[in-house]
């Protein structure tokens, strides 16, 4: 490595200061804030942080007081339990946490007086959340944030987690002892690295915590490592329960995302519709498709006119599905995607425009609104939503534009597609995963893997249509909440060529 690279790295390490003021667990923020934070940093960081918001729309900063990793994992544990909205599971966790006291005394060797106060904080919180979740999930979330920002409560829960990790290590010496640094031995390691308060979590500690707290209930954890290693994207590692063949035991289970920067952890979020609904759609794609077909046969302009505005907007969120009767009318449960600001999901929209079979007639009205504005970034539900009937002559509906709030309306032939977008086209030539013919040309039922590949694009997708550029969905538009002026880069004018490093 060249000398100045090392210097730059050292300077970054010196300058990086996790926030020491403010709440222990911060509010959710758009992950573009991370990109902006690193805008002037080393090019590796710039590239990696620029790619980050495409995968994770939001992040939650955690105070860097030496407990951030423990606190981030602990908060995510409770938050994910809340997200599942399952009172029974919260009560099961309450029972599990109480029964783990046994592990703390027998295996961990801790006296009961030592941990009972801390365990009480954890179990109290679980109980209070279980009581709140059926009536008011919002109040439960507020309570969780409030408890985790109360220093005494928060630290007690964190210390409970430390004791759990320590006991788990003592009970599973053979599995972990090779990972203990510096020949400390199990006792020395727990004493020096896990049990002191404010001792930040190391990799083994995180592994232990995940193994005792999250894996047994089927939660998996993805840790995104934002460091200076080679590559244009942050590396990530997924911790989950796996069977002997290495296949995940609970593939559809909830996943927690953590962002690791040297010696600091924050929480990352992917915006996605509630999990249960996704599972339902994934299991029954055929049934759903049959239903959409049926809907399109039945629908008449009169029916559509009778529905309130709100339902129409919900449907507009589904690409290629501009018009049909509201799902509840047919007793069919359709995911209700909420409309989101486009900057959270815009990365996946161009591919949806190019691979969903949208007839010219329909796309000029419906999809042009729905696709950039909000597209569910959920690959699994796609097969059910691209109704083949819409590509047929059925799509010549009476002009519905009067009922639909259209903000933008760009012509179908200028829709961004894989081949017309130079940034993606150049990427295509480098990556094999996107060069399969199905993703670029054949346009029906993209597989899950294509969607993942689409989400992995290294650079932000640039919308090419003039209508889009002039709309406030464009981040370069002054009305965009995430306004960022465009910069002229000479390289982008030239045909992409493999870059060579002169150094």
């Amino acid at each position: 490595m060249a000398g100045h690279d090392l210097e730059a790295q050292e300077a970054l390490a010196r300058d990086f200061q996790p926030a020491l003021e403010g709440p222990l667990v911060g509010e959710k923020k758009t992950s573009r804030a991370i990109t902006e934070e690193y805008a002037k940093a080393d090019p590796v960081y710039v590239a990696k942080t620029a790619a980050l918001p495409q995968k994770f729309s939001h992040y939650r900063p955690i105070l860097g007081d030496g407990n951030c990793g423990w606190r981030a994992a602990g908060f995510s544990y409770f938050e994910t339990l809340l997200r599942l909205q399952n009172r029974t599971q919260l009560e099961e966790e309450l029972a599990r946490m109480t029964s783990l006291n046994n592990l703390l005394t027998t295996v961990g060797g801790f006296e009961e007086w030592l941990f009972e106060d801390m365990v009480t904080e954890t179990t109290d919180l679980l109980r209070d959340l279980a009581d709140l979740i059926p009536s008011s999930p919002q109040a439960a979330e507020d309570l969780l944030r409030q408890r985790f920002n109360n220093r005494a409560t928060s630290d007690s829960i964190v210390y409970h987690l430390r004791l759990l990790a320590s006991s788990w290590l003592k009970g599973n010496r053979t599995s972990y002892q090779d990972f203990i640094p510096d020949g400390l031995g199990v006792e020395g390691y727990t004493k020096d690295w896990i049990e002191p308060v404010n001792q930040e979590i190391d990799h083994l500690g995180m592994t232990l915590l995940i193994d005792i707290l999250l894996k047994p209930i089927g939660f998996s954890v993805e840790i995104v490592y934002l460091d200076r290693s080679e590559g244009s994207q942050a590396n990530s590692h997924i911790f989950r329960q796996e069977d002997s063949n290495g296949a995940p035991v609970n593939p559809g289970g909830p996943m927690i995302h953590l962002l690791y920067r040297p010696s600091h952890y924050d929480i990352l979020y992917k915006e996605q519709p509630p999990m249960q609904i996704v599972d339902e759609v994934t299991r029954n794609p055929q049934v759903n498709r049959a239903f959409t077909r049926q809907i399109s046969v039945h629908e008449t302009p009169a029916m559509m006119g009778g529905f309130p505005q709100l339902d129409m907007e919900t449907l507009l969120c589904i690409p290629g599905f501009g018009l049909s009767s509201p799902p509840q009318h047919h007793g069919f449960h359709t995911p209700q995607y909420s409309q989101r600001p486009m900057e959270q999901t815009f990365n996946s929209s161009p591919i949806s425009a190019s691979i969903s079979p949208i007839s010219p007639g329909a796309s000029s009205t419906a999809s042009s609104v729905a696709v950039p504005a909000s597209f569910p970034a959920q690959p699994a539900s796609q097969p059910s939503l691209t109704s083949p009937t819409l590509a047929s002559p059925h799509s010549s509906f009476p002009a519905p534009t009067t009922q639909i709030p259209i903000h933008t309306n760009f012509p179908p032939q200028t829709r961004p597609s894989l081949s017309s977008n130079p940034s993606i086209a150049s990427h295509l030539s480098h990556t094999s995963e996107l060069s399969s013919p199905s993703s670029a040309t054949s346009s029906f039922r993209p597989s899950k893997y294509e969607w993942e590949a689409a989400a992995d694009w290294q650079e932000p997708v640039i919308f090419q249509t003039s209508t889009f550029k002039n709309s406030h969905y464009n981040t370069a538009h002054y009305n965009n909440p995430n306004f960022q002026p465009e910069e002229w880069t000479p390289e982008s004018e030239e045909p992409p060529a493999p870059r060579k490093r002169s150094s």
Binding site: F110, E111, W113, L114, D117, M118, T120, E121, D124, R147, N150, R151, A152, T153, D155, S156, Y159, L163, K191, D192, E195, P196, V197, N198, Q199
Partner: protein, 189 residues
């Protein structure tokens, strides 16, 4: 004067946030009183002050320490202050009886010990922390001394001189009182 904005007393019932270290301290004290003396050799007494449980007094005895350390003849009174967020923060322990030790400040009795500062773990408890202080007497660290004179003797390799100095002050300052609920009695007066 207008009536002050009176907080309703119900606000203090908000469950967990108002928890104090008192309960845990009481448990620790009763565990200490019922445990055999061999489990805490140097610590011979630990008693809360009459006014507040968050302030305690303790007596350390040097008799279990090797003669070669120079501390075997010592007996010291210590003051323990429990912070409100105990056990997440360590107790503050100071020597009331003067002690000549590389890691104790002569004037204030302040102790420099990692487990009482950045390496504190709630696992220790007050008794464990006092035992750690007792062990520190036998294993002085001379690298970042608070007691400069004796540390410089040790660093020069003058162990005999250091032992003599330590032993002199142990005899001179020895605390011969006993601790009872309600205060200590100093046998010398």
């Amino acid at each position: 004067m207008s009536a002050p904005n009176k907080r309703s007393s119900t606000s203090s019932t908000s469950s967990s946030s108002s928890r104090t270290p008192t309960k845990r301290l009481l448990t620790e004290l009763s565990a200490f009183n019922s445990s055999p003396a061999s489990s805490h050799p140097t610590l011979i007494a630990l008693v809360p002050s009459p006014s507040s449980l968050l302030s305690l007094r303790a007596i350390l005895s040097g008799s279990p320490l090797p003669i070669s350390t120079g501390y075997a003849s010592g007996r010291w009174l210590l003051n323990i202050t429990i912070p409100p967020n105990y056990p997440n923060s360590p107790p503050t322990i100071t020597f009331v009886t003067k002690i000549c030790h590389p890691n104790v400040k002569w004037e204030t009795g302040e102790i420099c010990l990692d487990v009482l500062k950045e390496n504190w773990t709630p696992v220790l408890g007050v008794v464990g922390a006092l035992e750690a202080v007792g062990r520190l007497l036998g294993e002085p660290g001379v690298d970042s001394p608070l007691g400069v004179e004796v540390a410089s003797l040790l660093r020069q390799g003058d162990t005999i001189g250091a032992r003599g100095l330590v032993g002199f002050w142990c005899g001179e300052e020895r605390f011969d009182g006993v601790l009872e609920e309600g205060g200590e009695k100093d046998a010398r007066r």
